[in-house]
């Protein structure tokens, strides 16, 4: 049975822990509790969640908060109607030309945990580059209608999401982009119906963190 005193003690230690206001021994105890006790881990996560929301609210008030930019492929930005004549021709071609790649059985393909099916990322090299890369390239997927590219900072937070039709993303000065010396990226190939076809592994780019890790 957990007494109210125990809970109050836990609450205090957790708040102190998150605020960096515990001595080394007490902090190690909290670390251990979080790692071994679901209730403590949940409490810590929930507090972090509110803390992050509070911090985000602070950034919103200061005007620093911007939504993660998501670009749209040109054919989406201009609307489907502009593509109707092209679509009719394409439909005719599909009917007349045997398909090179058999359609799946109607279920969305899965790719996680299947290395052979992962999209191979070509540039930048894994962990390479002392500064943030400006060009991302990957293996083309013939069935893909477009690619969704996610760029994450080194805490795994999504900072840019781009949608492109070629297997390449150039981050130009015109592209809303984070200033990233290091982070992670991932590519997902998507078909015309919006279904994920294949994806890459989450892959690191850039140099080591400032603390050497």
């Amino acid at each position: 049975m957990t007494s109210s005193d125990d809970l109050a003690d836990r609450d205090e230690r957790l708040e102190r822990y998150l605020a960096g206001d515990l001595d080394a021994a007490a902090r190690r105890d909290v670390d251990e509790e979080i790692l071994t006790d679901d209730a403590m881990a949940e409490a810590a996560y929930a507090s972090l969640n509110v803390e992050s929301a509070l911090a985000e609210a602070g950034r919103a008030r200061s005007g620093a908060l911007r939504p993660v930019p998501v670009s749209r492929p040109w054919w989406r930005a201009q609307g489907w109607r502009t593509l109707l004549p092209l679509g009719a021709a394409l439909a005719a071609a599909i009917l007349l030309i045997p398909r090179m790649t058999p359609a799946p059985d109607g279920t969305a393909p899965t790719f996680r945990g299947d290395d052979a099916a992962e999209i191979q990322l070509l540039e930048p090299p894994v962990g390479g580059g002392p500064v943030g890369p400006t060009v991302f390239r990957w293996e083309a997927v013939p069935e893909a209608s477009y690619y969704r590219v996610e760029i994450l900072d080194d805490t795994g937070r999504l900072v840019t999401e781009e949608v492109v039709t070629d297997p390449r993303l150039d981050l130009t000065p015109d592209t809303p982009r984070p200033s990233l010396a290091r982070g992670y990226w991932r590519v997902t190939a998507v078909d015309a119906r919006g279904r994920d076809l294949r994806g890459s592994a989450l892959t690191r780019f850039g140099g080591p963190a400032p603390d050497g890790r």
Partner: protein, 179 residues
């Protein structure tokens, strides 16, 4: 008790990640998201994160933050997927019915910020110091500084602050946002 072998912290962390993720995302993506979060943790080169700092916070808390970011990314990805899905021909986009967000989805949206600020303001009407404390946190003040400014002993303040966050979570829950 913690496991005894050298990689125990990672096994324990994985178990906690899975438990937290299961409460927040559909079952079929729990394992994937946990893998992503663990990959980021491992790439940071933490051999044993206990008693270390990463980016100015306890490393285990940093690991939980990575999981939070990963779960947030999942919901962002879902929104992108929905926004890019082909519309039904002949049905103008503004009238295309969009499925309402579930409370789980709302958890990770930026709309949370607006709801959160409204909730804090609501707390001001019910007395106590919670609204003031939380507003000061929003403005980036450290808990220890708020305690000193309020003339409250640190131990009492941290307990109050935890309860304030609890109340805030309850308000967010009542507004359809889990926290």
């Amino acid at each position: 008790m913690a496991r005894s072998h050298p990689e125990s912290w990672l096994d324990d962390l994985r178990d906690r990640f899975l438990a937290i993720a299961r409460r927040r995302v559909p079952a079929d993506v729990v394992e994937d998201l946990t893998q992503d979060a663990l990959r980021v943790v491992l790439e940071r080169g933490l051999d044993d994160p206990r008693a270390h700092d990463v980016d100015g916070r306890p490393a285990i808390a940093w690991c939980l933050q990575v999981l939070r970011n990963t779960i947030g990314n999942y919901y962002q990805r879902e929104r992108t997927r929905t926004s890019l899905a082909p519309e039904v021909e002949g049905e103008p986009e503004p009238h295309t019915p969009k499925a309402p967000r579930t409370p789980l989805e709302s958890l990770e949206t930026r709309q949370t910020v607006t709801v959160l600020l409204e909730s804090i303001d609501e707390m001001a009407g019910s007395g106590g110091e919670c609204a003031r404390y939380l507003h000061e946190l929003v403005h980036g003040k450290a808990p220890a500084d708020i305690a000193a400014g309020a003339g409250v002993p640190a131990a009492a303040f941290y307990r109050r602050l935890y309860r304030c966050r609890q109340r805030l979570r309850e308000l967010l829950l009542a507004r359809g946002i889990l926290a």
